[in-house]
């Protein structure tokens, strides 16, 4: 059912990493998944076409303002992710307007969070526009903390302050975060999914897989809640 836009106008926030990890994990868990690669650098299309991955995710590149709706209409998978460019653009805002859910990845930095604020305000305003024609239309979103210290490692005071501020502002946030892990960089280097990295000695793969499992599970539970109307 869901079209999931992954957006933060700040580059390097972890949008493509989040998209690829979640998409490949859901696919290996049995879901049909499509990724619309709307990043001009086409990192996920490059990953799919130039590597040896056996992942079943379907990747579509060449997404533009003018063909976004048409590309979305052509997909019949269970999950469609839109990996958006790290800038504020019409393509990003239209993707948000068409999404069922928006993931806003942010690193624990003031710049990232301030830029994420742009995406949050855009989501809220796009929701108001959509409600003019459909009063029940909601565009739920959640912030995802990325590149956080691995469990057990010290958390910076900046991260603690940002988390407290996000909570105080009532901004919905994933309980899971995406830790800083070598394996997440390696998937782009080797052009393989996390599950396919088994023969490569890249950090703690087991912990990385557990991290993605928890995040994917939380995402699916959230989407189920949205479908049932218990999360808005």
């Amino acid at each position: 059912m869901p079209v999931i836009a992954v957006s933060n106008p700040k580059g390097g926030a972890g949008k493509s990493t989040t998209t690829l990890l979640l998409a490949t994990y859901l696919a290996q868990s049995g879901a049909s998944v499509c990724v619309l690669d709307a990043d001009p650098n086409q990192p996920i299309l490059d990953w799919k076409t130039k590597g040896q991955t056996k992942s079943q995710i379907h990747v579509v590149g060449g997404v533009k303002e003018t063909n976004l709706m048409e590309l979305l209409e052509n997909q019949n998978q269970q999950f469609v992710f839109i990996d958006l460019e790290g800038t504020a653009s019409v393509l990003v805002s239209r993707s948000i307007a068409l999404a069922d859910f928006v993931i806003i990845p942010v690193q624990a930095s003031a710049v990232d969070v301030r830029q994420a604020g742009k995406a949050i305000r855009a989501v809220r305003d796009e929701e108001k526009v959509a409600q003019r024609s459909n009063p029940s239309r909601k565009i739920p979103y959640m912030v995802l903390m990325t590149r956080t210290p691995a469990p057990g490692a010290p958390v910076s005071s900046v991260q603690r302050q940002l988390e407290a501020e996000i909570e105080a502002a009532g901004i919905p946030r994933f309980k899971s975060s995406l830790a800083e892990r070598l394996a997440y960089k390696a998937i782009f280097v080797e052009r393989l999914s996390l599950a396919e990295l088994g023969d490569y000695k890249v950090g703690n793969l087991e912990a990385a897989a557990q991290n993605i499992h928890e995040l994917a599970t939380e995402l699916v539970e959230t989407l189920q809640g949205i479908e049932k109307g218990s999360i808005q």
């Binding site: 209409e73 393509l91 189920q224």
Partner: protein, 120 residues
């Protein structure tokens, strides 16, 4: 096998991966999107800085015409780097090209013109 004191209940709960796969099976295919009012969507996002980043068709005046090399300036120079919407960028480059002017010369020409107009 359950633990001696019943503290390890791992085997009581179904494997988490199975739960996820079962949950995934409840999702149907992506539904067609309801039509959206694109001008309204774009207008709502513009105040937050969401503008078109896709190249527009360049004017013929900005294509294929040479611009003369810059002269050595007679006074100290400062660097100015600016970002422009593509449409304004194209207008500025076409303007410079139409006079075969460098960008600093084109900017000076525009400033001179604006000041002359303001003085009239």
């Amino acid at each position: 096998m359950s633990s001696k004191f019943g503290l390890d209940d791992h085997e009581e709960a179904p494997p988490v991966a199975d739960n996820l796969s079962a949950a995934l099976s409840t999702f149907g295919a992506v539904r067609p999107r309801a039509p959206i009012d694109l001008p309204a969507v774009d207008a709502a996002a513009e105040p937050h800085g969401f503008v078109s980043r896709e190249a527009t068709i360049t004017t013929s005046a900005s294509v294929g015409r040479g611009r003369r090399r810059r002269a050595v300036p007679a006074e100290p120079v400062r660097h100015l780097a600016i970002r422009l919407p593509v449409s304004q960028y194209d207008r500025f480059v076409a303007f410079a090209d139409s006079f075969k002017a460098t960008y600093p010369e084109a900017l000076k020409k525009l400033l001179d013109g604006a000041e002359a107009e303001a003085g009239n």
